[in-house]
């Protein structure tokens, strides 16, 4: 152990990982060097395609066979090269010297084995402990990661646990043999913000107590600010910049890093004038109840996905609906767009109640409410050209193909794409470009109300900033009422005039963005704000 304290846990030098020859890039990782000391958390930050996850796989020796090959360089794990180790030796190290936790704790755990068995498997593989000793160690470890009621939970299956509990199980499993290196690949990305805060705290606590070196992969600068000792920024497989947390976050040297950090929306809302336009949309006691079919001998399950929701949205105004998963924010949006039928209440669109109109009578009103969806890869029909997708709506309302096409061409310019994009297929565009196309499709209908349902959540932070600017621009230009659904407080702070916080189907608090951020009233709102990662770093 004395030697280990002087020696770095991990020392990658000049690592290059080759991609299969068919791709547009030759390398996933190019000439990467980095070092992790014992007890140190190194964050690798980058947008998608930066090579950060490939690096993690290379360290674990888990690069997909035949697809990715570590061509050059060394990965020294406590002084021994992983790339040169025999398969048996590598297996020996996994779990004992290095361990890994993943993004999606549901799929990373085997659904048909109890969580206790899965943690104990680590001991069964690498130690000679008896079953009783294993169980004792597992219980001890589960307690260490602050799981409640461990005696009962040890025999639970993963699906019986919450997302945060599952990630705690993963951490317990990874750390039970005290590995020198923990690799965490976006471990909190799939979790709600309040859970994320707890897991980050846990990783930090465990790591400090055990002196583990941590390689933490993330795309979120807020998380970096909260957890990192040192930061490595990657782009397209290259190391762009590295340094201590404060060096990189507060005084970035390279333009790419500067751009990335500048793109992170601040948690401090700018001043906004109250909007006094005419009311475009109002809901009165809107509710959506899901009922289990209650078949023969079936327990009847009733879920109130949205309950007594009242909102007013004016022309030219942006109303943010903020909440964690299961809060009902998307349900509200989908009810208003009448993609699902509300169970009760009214939806007044320009004064007319559309909540329960049958499809035939509703159709003429549909053009006034348009939606932009979260997943840019699924919101355009892959078999139809961009042009066909955009003119579909206007042609439903009597425009000729030529008129619709000319409107589409104008809109292409407006959203920052070239008009010849119209004749191409969606797969030829990036995620950000597709969101622009979706915005154009919505605008082609000349709506009064635009609903953005997590419209920027799937985008990289630099692209996100651009799309947000575009949304704000079209809101002003067309005097739109923008209903902005998001889980991201930073985004909400920057774009919304007013904010509504939802929890478990109910609105818990509502107010002007600046007031709400400055002085949240409801305990849940406070918890939500406290949990937002990277408080100190973007109060600029």
């Amino acid at each position: 152990m004395t030697e280990a304290s002087t020696q770095p846990v991990l020392e990658i030098s000049h690592l290059s990982v080759a991609l299969p020859s068919s791709g547009d890039r030759r390398h996933a990782v190019i000439d990467l060097s980095l070092t992790i000391q014992p007890g140190e958390i190194v964050c690798v930050v980058g947008e998608s395609g930066s090579g950060k996850s490939v690096t993690a796989q290379a360290i674990m020796g888990l690069l997909p066979k035949g697809q990715l090959v570590a061509e050059r360089g060394t990965i020294a794990l406590q002084g021994e090269d992983v790339l040169k180790a025999s398969p048996d030796r590598l297996r020996e190290w996994r779990g004992t010297r290095m361990a890994m936790i993943f993004q999606e704790p549901m799929t990373a755990l085997n659904p048909v084995l109890t969580v206790g068995d899965q943690i104990a498997e680590m001991l069964a593989i690498h130690t000679d402990l008896t079953a009783a000793e294993q169980r004792a160690r597992v219980l001890e470890m589960m307690q260490a990661v602050h799981l409640p009621d461990v005696e009962r939970m040890i025999d639970c299956y993963p699906h019986q646990l919450s997302g945060g509990q599952r990630q705690r199980i993963m951490i317990a499993q990874a750390l039970i043999l005290d590995p020198a290196l923990l690799i965490a690949d976006e471990p909190t990305t799939a979790l709600d913000v309040t859970t994320q805060a707890q897991i980050l705290k846990l990783i930090k606590e465990m790591q400090e107590r055990r002196g583990t070196g941590v390689l933490f992969i993330t795309h979120d600068f807020g998380v970096v600010a909260d957890i990192a000792d040192r930061v490595v920024v990657m782009q397209h497989g290259n190391l762009v910049e590295s340094g201590t947390r404060d060096e990189v976050l507060l005084a970035p040297k390279r333009p790419y890093t500067q751009m990335l950090i500048a793109s992170v929306p601040s948690l401090v809302p700018p001043h906004r004038e109250p909007v006094s336009g005419p009311v475009a949309l109002q809901t009165i006691n809107l509710g959506k109840t899901y009922q289990g079919t209650g078949g023969f001998l079936d327990k009847e399950r009733v879920v109130k996905a949205a309950d007594q929701v009242n909102l007013i949205l004016r022309r030219g105004e942006t109303l943010g609906v903020v909440g964690e998963s299961g809060s009902g924010k998307s349900t509200v949006a989908r009810c208003i767009a009448r993609l699902i039928d509300p169970s009760e209440g009214q939806i007044l669109l320009d004064g007319l109640d559309i909540a329960h109109l049958p499809e035939k009578t509703l159709r003429p009103h549909r053009r006034h409410v348009q939606v932009i969806f979260q997943d840019p890869f699924r919101s355009l029909n892959p078999r139809r050209t961009v042009g066909q997708s955009i003119i579909e709506g206007p042609m439903n309302f009597g425009l000729s193909e030529n008129e619709a096409l000319s409107r589409a061409r104008d809109l292409m310019g407006l959203v920052g794409l070239s008009p010849d994009a119209l004749s191409r297929f969606p797969h030829q565009f990036s995620g950000g470009q597709r969101q622009r196309i979706s915005i154009a499709r919505a605008l082609a209908m000349q709506p009064h109300v635009l609903i953005a349902d997590e419209a920027v959540s799937a985008l990289d932070v630099s692209v996100q900033a651009q799309v947000l600017a575009l949304l704000d621009d079209v809101r002003k230009r067309f005097d739109l009422a923008l209903l902005f659904i998001t889980h991201d407080l930073r985004v909400a702070a920057q774009i919304c005039d007013r904010i509504m916080v939802m929890q478990k189907g109910k609105v818990v608090e509502e107010g002007a963005t600046r007031t709400l951020f400055a002085n949240p009233q409801h305990t849940y709102t406070k918890a939500l704000f406290d949990a937002a990662p990277g408080h100190d770093f973007t109060k600029r």
Partner: protein, 313 residues
């Protein structure tokens, strides 16, 4: 748990009812006079009238239906036109060979197909995999009777290793049973093996791409345990499902296999009934086979809960 089983058992009732309705409708709703068809070309008017009366076709349709359901509930499947014996008695007499044949086939096929499928999935993309898959396509394509005759030709007529015809009960003549059952089992099992191998490979392959397999490897688990402890256990549900669904193929195949190998089972009963235009027997057998199929699949569904903790009541 018990509630789940009860519910699953209850859920078979509507399906069985629909099966009964379909079989009932088959005779009554086909265009033309079924009595004339059943009686055959040389039938006299009197014969046709007798058939119509014995099938109850002269009653109003709703009365016919009520009688039909009541009779099924009483275990009365009708009376053979040709022998005048109750269909249920005839089925009872012929039950054993068919049950034995399907039993040996299921055991043989599953014990061949599952390892073969796991092996193919593990070696996915290699020649081993391709060879196993080619064999599976072959099994799908070779009609049961063609395979049966090829086997008879090779092992019965040319090599004279095995008897080509007949059936011996394992309770009276175990050795005779063993020698007569080998070729029918292989014949009938072929398509079933092909099916189960394919699905096993596919499900294991799919599971091998899951995140928890990566987790297991990241723990340093050895490949053999990754395959059997983590992968196969997760793939068990689709495999069990296809074993159940495949029973339908087996029932159809049994009819043909019994004809090829001259086994006096239910399949032969069907074929004899076709030749004699003995419709009540055909109708009764379709009902019995369908109900058996539904019950087997229900039992497999219930067995899922033992295999997969995610499926809960």
């Amino acid at each position: 748990m018990w509630l789940f089983i009860l519910r699953r058992v209850a859920s078979t009732v509507p399906v069985m009812l629909i099966v009964a309705v379909v079989i009932f409708a088959m005779l009554r709703l086909t265009p033309g006079d079924p009595a004339v068809v059943i009686a055959g070309d040389q039938a006299t008017a009197e014969q046709i009238a007798r058939i119509r009366a014995s099938l109850g076709l002269d009653l109003p349709i709703h009365e016919q239906f009520v009688t039909w359901i009541v009779h099924i509930l009483q275990g009365d499947l009708g009376t053979s036109i040709f022998t005048n014996m109750p269909v249920s008695t005839l089925i009872g007499q012929r039950l054993e060979p068919t049950m034995m044949l399907t039993l040996t086939t299921v055991i043989f096929s599953v014990s061949v197909a599952v390892p073969l499928g796991v092996w193919a999935a593990w070696r996915a993309g290699t020649w081993t995999d391709r060879l196993i898959m080619m064999f599976s396509v072959l099994g799908f394509s070779f009609p049961v009777f063609v395979l049966g005759y090829l086997l008879i030709y090779q092992f019965g007529l040319t090599l004279k290793w095995l008897p080509t015809q007949g059936y011996k009960s394992p309770f009276t003549d175990p050795l005779g049973f063993a020698s007569t059952i080998v070729m029918p089992t292989i014949t009938l099992g072929m398509i079933y093996i092909a099916l189960v191998t394919r699905i096993t490979r596919a499900s294991v392959l799919e599971v091998l791409g899951e995140d928890y397999i990566r987790t297991a490897r990241a723990k340093g688990q050895v490949e053999r345990k990754v395959l059997f402890r983590h992968a196969l256990k997760n793939a068990a549900v689709p495999i069990a499902t296809i074993i159940g669904i495949g029973i339908a193929l087996l029932i159809g195949g049994a009819v043909v296999t019994e004809t090829v190998f001259n086994i006096p089972g239910l399949g032969r009963l069907v074929v004899d009934a076709i030749l004699r235009r003995d419709y009540p027997i055909i109708q009764g057998l379709i009902l019995v086979f369908s109900f058996t199929y539904i019950i087997i699949n229900m039992l497999i569904d219930i067995a899922y809960t033992m295999l997969d903790p995610r499926i809960r009541y």
